[in-house]
């Protein structure tokens, strides 16, 4: 099965094996047709209406702003309504370095997001600590405290790279199941320690 995104051809994505594996895992638990159709409609809505939380700590935040600005215009894809309140956002783009003092705050923001919620780690710092990896005060990747769905490397990543990452997130959302559990439960439990 192909996961289609209007903005980009299926062959142009670099990690189709990953998404196919994800689909196969999901298929293993058979769903009936009606539920499948409903799932499709819901996922269509979800994937086309991902509202980011306005959250940024450093350089990547400026690129995130460029993403919303005239040249790149993320409104085209439905990422338009950047909400300042975490209750109303769908995903948090961790744009920038996360340090020890910020970690509990970010974690609280994540907890305040309403389900379904996603995390995108943007830039070297959020992916692995980046150039500040050896610092005493920097987290070595935001996945130490949050379950990350998409990693976008770069320092800072270009807006095009961010779009690629966000489309990957759209694909992930598209194969999700509303009925019968969220497919990321296992990983999330591991990170959040619930």
């Amino acid at each position: 099965m192909e996961v289609k995104i209007k903005s980009m051809k299926y062959e142009d994505f670099k990690d189709n094996e990953y998404i196919e594996q994800l689909i196969n895992e999901l298929k293993a638990s058979h769903t009936n047709v009606v539920v499948g159709c409903l799932d499709e409609v819901i996922n269509w809505g979800r994937s086309n209406s991902l509202w980011p939380l306005t959250f940024a700590t450093s350089c990547c935040g400026i690129e995130f702003m460029s993403l919303g600005a005239a040249r790149y215009d993320m409104a085209r894809f439905g990422f338009e309504v950047a909400r300042a309140s975490p209750r109303q956002a769908d995903f948090v783009m961790v744009a920038g370095t996360i340090v020890h003092r910020m970690a509990p705050v970010l974690r609280r923001l994540y907890d305040q997001l309403a389900e379904p919620k996603y995390v995108v780690a943007v830039g070297g710092c959020a992916v692995s600590g980046g150039p500040f990896k050896k610092s005493y005060h920097v987290l070595k990747g935001v996945d130490e405290i949050l379950p990350v769905d998409v990693y976008i490397p770069g320092c800072p990543p270009r807006p095009e790279a961010m779009f690629y990452g966000l489309m990957q997130l759209q694909r992930k959302v598209k194969v999700e199941k509303f009925f019968g559990g969220v497919n990321r439960q296992e990983k999330r439990e591991k990170v959040l320690g619930k």
């Binding site: 600005a69 340090v99 005493y136």
Partner: protein, 540 residues
């Protein structure tokens, strides 16, 4: 300089001197406050540029840098204490208000406590952090300071050490917020704090009564990291400090190192550096326009600013290969030569932008609502600007001619002709207009240089390992938000013994509280926007 030296030695015979580009005075701590008073009142060193905390092994202490705003002479003072267990120095917060944050920073990094400082809390690190990270014997084991996911305790009180008139030291507790006050947390995640700044704001209805600033939500420990990197390696952090003035920051580090090595930079590199600095300044001020207008609710202006900023980024990208973190300057010149299209594109841009600026002014500046929101709001007098160390465009809006490009010219700034924009109102509108006018001046500078870039080498041949001669070096450049100072203490190794970045943005938040008091919440946002601080720069 000899004059200052004579005056100080006649006032304080036990002071010792080290001559260099900046005179360095060493005094024992007991006499330090007297000397500070003398410097401030008699010698008119009214601008405290920086306090550099130091750990010299046996002793710890501070190096203070002062400037006299009347004649721009500089002096530095070294104070040390041998007590490593309970280091104490005298505070100078009563003389220079900018010392309030600087001394808290030193306490945070070195554990040196300041006598008579009203508020000895940590500035950047959590209040339950163990150890003082910039000490040479700091225990960096992650077991000691693991990632804590519980929230730090809210401090409504703070402690201070006060010297009683008979010379005894007393511990005191000061109240920041009384329990009955209505305290709102603005930040760390808030759309108008330009990043992750936290302002605990006490409100009376809509009126701001007091602001307590919390920094450090993106403190990355760059200064400590630099101590284990070679000089060329330290450069790349400069781009990531204040990413809106990446080129100028890197210029500062390069200048400081080149000064120490007494290098003569090729003329071509000097030209390109000056042009790049000014382009960066324009792009930063465009971003200021965009975000400031959005803070005031004029969303469309945001898109206009970003649209034109993209054009500068295109120029940068062709030459430097990146949109934001350029890594373009290097010790002894530039990383690469300019792109063949560089001159043409820059000229096109310089012709294009003034027309757009007119649009900006019709869209926003002339608007009645905008004028009412800006004029007479967030007043800052010249004396306060100097005392709080609020330099750069914000200081110039208060009538303080503090442009490093004029006062201590570097690169080609002594050869080009440009006006230093100074306004005297000191309100939000003045700060806004200074920046908008500086865009035009920057274009003017670029136009003088762009056709005359000389042929020749763009960089000196440097060895991969650079060793700086022993000594202390301090160099400032005018970044987009104010003077950025780089302090390097070298012990002759290939690594800096201490590299301190004197951020232009940290003093800005220091002045937030007096400027906002009595204003509305909306004014707080407008003032914050007009100061245009960048959080990663102040947190480092």
């Amino acid at each position: 300089m000899a004059n200052i030296q004579q005056e100080i030695s006649s006032f304080l015979p036990e002071a010792t001197f080290v001559e260099g580009t900046i005179l360095e005075v060493s005094v024992p701590d007991a006499k330090w406050h007297d000397l500070a008073l003398y410097l401030h009142d008699k010698l008119h060193f009214d601008y405290l540029v920086s306090i550099v905390g130091m750990d010299w092994g046996e002793t710890m202490g501070c190096v203070y840098y002062f400037t006299c705003t009347a004649d721009n002479s500089q002096v530095s003072v070294k104070v040390e204490t041998a007590d490593r267990e309970n280091p104490l120095l005298h505070s100078v917060t009563d003389l220079w208000k900018s010392a309030y944050l600087y001394e808290r920073e030193v306490y945070d990094f070195y554990g040196i406590r300041f006598i008579n400082h009203p508020d000895m809390r940590r500035l950047f690190l959590r209040n339950d952090w163990v150890g003082y990270p910039l000490r040479k014997d700091y225990n960096a084991d992650p077991e000691v300071n693991p990632i804590r996911l519980e929230h730090e305790a809210v401090d409504d009180t703070t402690h201070a050490i006060v010297e009683t008139p008979d010379g005894k030291l007393e511990e005191r507790t000061n109240t920041i917020f009384a329990p009955e006050e209505f305290v709102v947390n603005i930040g760390p995640q808030h759309p108008a704090t330009h990043g992750v700044l936290r302002l605990r704001t006490s409100l009376d209805g809509e009126i701001v009564k007091k602001i307590d600033v919390y920094c450090g939500y993106v403190h990355r420990g760059i200064e400590k990291l630099c101590e284990s990197l070679t000089y060329p390696q330290t450069l790349h952090f400069a781009d990531r400090l204040d990413y809106m003035s990446a080129q100028q920051n890197r210029h500062a580090v390069c200048l400081c190192i080149e000064d120490a090595l007494r290098l003569e930079i090729p003329a071509r590199a000097q030209y390109v550096r000056t042009i790049m600095d000014e382009l960066m300044r324009i792009s930063s001020h465009l971003l200021f326009y965009a975000t400031f207008c959005m803070d005031l609710g004029a969303t469309t202006a945001f898109f206009y600013g970003f649209r034109d900023r993209e054009k500068i980024l295109d120029i940068f990208e062709e030459t430097c290969g990146a949109r934001m973190t350029f890594n373009y300057y290097t010790i002894g010149g530039l990383m690469a030569d300019i792109h063949p299209d560089f001159q043409r594109k820059v000229k096109e841009f310089c012709a294009y932008l003034p027309g757009m600026l007119k649009d900006y002014h019709t869209l926003f500046t002339g608007n009645v609502i905008a004028q009412q929101r800006m004029k007479g709001v967030g007043l800052l007098s010249r004396e306060d600007a100097i005392s709080y160390g609020i330099a750069g465009p914000s200081g110039r809006a208060s009538g303080w001619a503090c442009d490093v490009r004029k006062n201590h010219p570097y690169a080609l700034y002594d050869q080009v002709e440009f006006k230093e924009i100074v306004r005297t109102e000191g309100d939000v509108f003045a700060r806004y207009m200074v920046r908008m006018d500086e865009i035009l001046e920057s274009i003017h500078i670029i136009e003088q240089l762009i056709d005359n870039i000389p042929e020749g080498d763009y960089a000196l041949k440097m060895k991969p390992i650079i060793k700086l001669p022993e000594g202390r070096y301090f160099r400032q450049v005018e970044a987009s938000r104010g003077p950025l100072g780089i302090f390097i203490e070298s012990h002759g190794d290939k690594y800096p013994y201490r590299l301190k970045i004197n951020s232009a943005c940290l003093p800005l938040v220091g002045g937030l509280d007096p400027m906002c008091r009595g204003g509305k919440i909306a004014d707080l946002i407008a003032i914050g926007g007009s100061l245009d601080y960048v959080i990663p720069d102040m947190d480092r």
